[in-house]
């Protein structure tokens, strides 16, 4: 505040504070005011301040449409959600909701069911990332090569990203069918026993992870391919001239240079992973039992099946709090990536 108000001429800071105090009104009115002995308008803020104000106002005006959108669409529901999480609002109950403090957090968040859902979410996330990144990197490196049919290959890789998750879920659900699905049919052709993909806990978890990864792979490949294309070629060429093998070039030159892109992609996938819902809903509804019930699926059940609005709000608030640090990490990594 003091620094911003300090006049360029090095006038005492006390005076600058008072002028800063009248900045908004004086800035425009002062042109009609008396002229001081040093030629500046009396009471007028220094030129740098005036420009800063103009910029600030422009910034406000330019971001106004965003605020108009964000406040009703994001901040208001968020506020209402947080507010409701401290009440016992349930749509099917006749009584007026009353304040229950942290009861919803105690019963629905500090519960084994929520714990299980969180573990399932993290498992799907970890297994998915372990599948998506090595495979995504391999495909991106392949696409980075100058080879015939690269365009067709690239288009084919991107197709899953263009499909809606519901359609993907339905398609895979049919393929996973133990009696009629093509996956068990192929296993049979190979002389292997069929698997009850969606009826047993671990196969179901794997099935959900695989479908989510199948669709997310497009994004990973796209991001990594773009990252590879943006890298300068000279360091790799220099390394090769120095006698580095292909693996050494990749390990010590390409991978470090690509790290910011990898991290940004990783963060996007982690955020996506925490809110995984549609594929689970279509494939297993969280079953068998709670074997594939993610936090989002649990929240859906509480909100839309049990009609327990307040309890669902509490789960939603906690899910937001869990993902918030990841968002800030993503922002930081994005900034690093931009700088590099």
């Amino acid at each position: 505040m003091t620094a911003e108000g300090a006049p360029a001429s090095g006038a005492p800071s006390a005076g600058s504070v008072s002028s800063a105090g009248s900045v908004s009104s004086a800035g425009s009115v002062s042109s009609a005011g008396p002229v001081a002995s040093n030629g500046r308008l009396a009471g007028a803020p220094p030129a740098r301040n005036w420009i800063a104000e103009r910029r600030a106002r422009s910034a406000v005006l330019l971001t106004l449409p965003t605020w108009v959108f964000l406040v009703p669409m994001f901040f208001l529901p968020l506020g209402v959600g947080i507010y409701l999480s401290f009440y016992d609002k349930t749509l099917g109950f006749p009584m007026e909701p009353s304040f229950v403090g942290l009861d919803n957090y105690r019963t629905d968040v500090l519960s084994p069911v929520f714990g299980e859902a969180l573990v399932v979410t993290l498992l799907i996330l970890a297994l998915g990332l372990a599948l998506q990144f090595p495979l995504g990197m391999a495909l991106a490196l392949l696409l980075h090569q100058q080879m015939r049919g690269r365009g067709v290959f690239r288009t084919a890789i991107l197709v899953p990203m263009l499909l809606t998750p519901v359609a993907v879920g339905l398609m895979w659900r049919f393929m996973y069918n133990p009696e009629l699905g093509i996956i068990n049919w192929w296993l049979g052709v190979l002389g292997l026993p069929g698997v009850d993909w969606l009826g047993a806990p671990w196969p179901a978890l794997f099935a959900v992870t695989f479908v989510d990864s199948w669709q997310a792979l497009s994004l990973v490949v796209l991001m990594l391919t773009a990252g590879l294309a943006s890298l300068p070629t000279s360091p790799e060429e220099a390394a090769r001239v120095d006698g580095a093998s292909g693996w050494q070039v990749f390990r010590h030159v390409t991978l470090p240079a690509l790290m910011p892109v990898i991290l940004v992609t990783l963060m996007i996938r982690v955020i996506d992973g925490f809110k995984i819902f549609d594929v689970v809903f279509i494939l297993t509804r969280g079953g068998p039992g709670t074997a594939t019930q993610t936090v989002s699926m649990l929240d859906y059940n509480v909100a839309f099946t049990f009609l327990a609005t307040s309890r669902a709000s509490a789960i939603g608030v906690v899910l937001m709090l869990i993902t918030l640090p990841i968002y800030f990490l993503w922002r930081r990594v994005s900034t690093l990536a931009e700088r590099s």
Partner: protein, 443 residues
């Protein structure tokens, strides 16, 4: 910088204030909507009316289903007959009940007719979301409630008040492959022991998988039927769960034992999967709601359509029959309840019951429909809708917390069926998990 923050804060404040004003104005709008609703015969006797109903258009809230499609097909004729236009809003099942309840509770007067699953009847009724249509139903010659068997007349009733009309009558029935039965010399089961023996005989023959029930996300549909058949109950009159009694344990043991003669994949099968597998692969018999009949007997979707036959549900210690089906009623905030009733009368009345069925809806168990020989020949399952007066008809439990009860029960059943825990231990865990759920039920 400070200036920017202040300005942003001020603008955000203004936006919030604007929204608050908008909310106030919308609440005043809803007040008038509410006033309209109050002047309507919500919750009151409405013996007058249908003839006086005058309105240009009504708004109907439907959930995608064969019954909804059949009604939509009849809308042009309804408009021609009454001069009332119909605007249809369809919302998929997953969010339909929440959206309908939110709309009605905010008294926007958005809908004049609302379709809902019977599992949500208690929630809708307790929330004051529905109009009492008892008098209209009792006095309407067109609806003719006497054409509906007594065991089905109260399907849309809650605490003695009629809030909904039965849009489809869907009891559990036994479906079997006549060709496989003939080959193996089997007869439709009349008891659960016979049902299991048939399933084991089919499985052993190698002709097909023995039987199909759902053991996946909708597992409670079948489990509670068996609990009732074996003489058990889900909870007592004090809303204490009774799921670990000897009767419930026997039913659960029996249910689990059927897995041995079920096709692989039965453990993950949803309600729809049960039918899809029965019509798409070789399975000797299944227990399923009659409402699936249209798909089962359609040769374009069922490879075994010609050889499928139906029989009444086997009986246990108690001759219990689980009855499901859609409900449809008039929201308590409807601006045109009388016109809404006209719509219901037209769609569900005696005159058009056949048309509704022919348009693909699951049948309503009207005597004039289920006793019609021509319709019986075309729809063999119709005669099974005439549930024996000796049978104990059980609908889904009419409690507000039923959806949560259902989920907790099916989560625990999954552990029992997969062998993760023994039956009694699993039922004891279910009992403990259900106690706090039932404790939430508003008394």
């Amino acid at each position: 910088m400070t200036m920017t923050r202040r300005s942003i804060a001020a603008i955000a404040g203004l936006a919030v204030a604007g929204l608050a004003l908008a909310a106030c104005s919308s609440s005043s709008t809803s007040t008038s909507g509410s006033a309209a609703a109050e002047s309507a015969p919500a919750g009151s006797s409405a013996a007058s009316a249908p003839a006086e109903a005058t309105c240009e258009a009504i708004n109907v809230f439907l959930i995608p289903s064969p019954s909804a499609d059949a009604m939509k097909a009849m809308i042009p004729a309804f408009t021609e007959a009454t001069g009332i236009n119909v605007n249809v809003s369809e919302v998929e099942y997953g969010t339909a009940h929440q959206k309908a309840l939110l709309s009605i509770q905010s008294k926007q007067g958005a809908f004049d007719v609302v379709q809902f699953d019977n599992t949500f009847l208690a929630a809708f009724a307790k929330a004051g979301a529905l109009t009492d249509i008892g008098d209209w139903a009792a006095n309407s010659a067109e609806y003719d409630i006497s054409d509906i068997p007594p065991s089905l007349q109260n399907y849309g009733d809650f605490d003695g008040t009629k809030y909904g009309l039965m849009l489809s009558t869907e009891p559990f029935i036994q479906w079997y492959r006549q060709d496989i039965y003939d080959k193996l010399g089997l007869k439709p089961a009349t008891t659960w022991d016979e049902y299991k023996a048939n399933a084991e005989a089919i499985q052993k023959s190698g002709e097909a998988a023995g039987q199909m029930m759902g053991f996946g996300p909708n597992t409670t549909w079948w489990w509670m039927q068996l609990v009732w058949s074996f003489g058990g109950a889900l909870y007592d009159s004090d809303f204490k769960p009774t799921v670990n009694t000897p009767e419930a344990a026997a039913a659960t043991e029996y249910y689990k034992s059927l897995l041995a003669s079920s096709p692989s994949g039965a453990l993950g099968a949803t309600g729809d999967d049960v039918t899809l597998q029965f019509v798409g692969s070789d399975i000797g018999q299944m227990v399923q709601y009659s409402g699936y009949a249209a798909g089962v007997f359609d040769p374009t979707s069922s490879k075994n359509a010609a050889s499928i036959a139906v029989a009444p549900l086997p009986a246990g210690k108690v001759n219990a029959v689980e009855l499901a089906g859609w409900n449809i009623g008039i929201p308590s905030d409807s601006p045109n309840p009388q016109c809404g009733w006209k719509f219901l009368e037209y769609m569900l009345g005696k005159s058009n019951a056949k048309t509704l069925l022919e348009n693909g809806a699951a049948a309503i168990g009207r005597i004039s429909i289920i006793d019609d020989p021509a319709l019986q020949a075309k729809y063999p399952y119709l005669k099974l809708l005439n549930i024996s007066p000796d049978a104990v008809v059980n609908t889904y439990p009419q409690i507000v917390v039923w959806p949560e009860f259902d989920k907790v029960a099916s989560d625990n059943l999954a552990k029992i069926l997969s062998g993760e825990v023994p039956v009694q231990e699993g039922l004891d865990a279910m009992q403990s998990a259900l106690e706090p759920v039932l404790a939430k039920e508003p008394k």
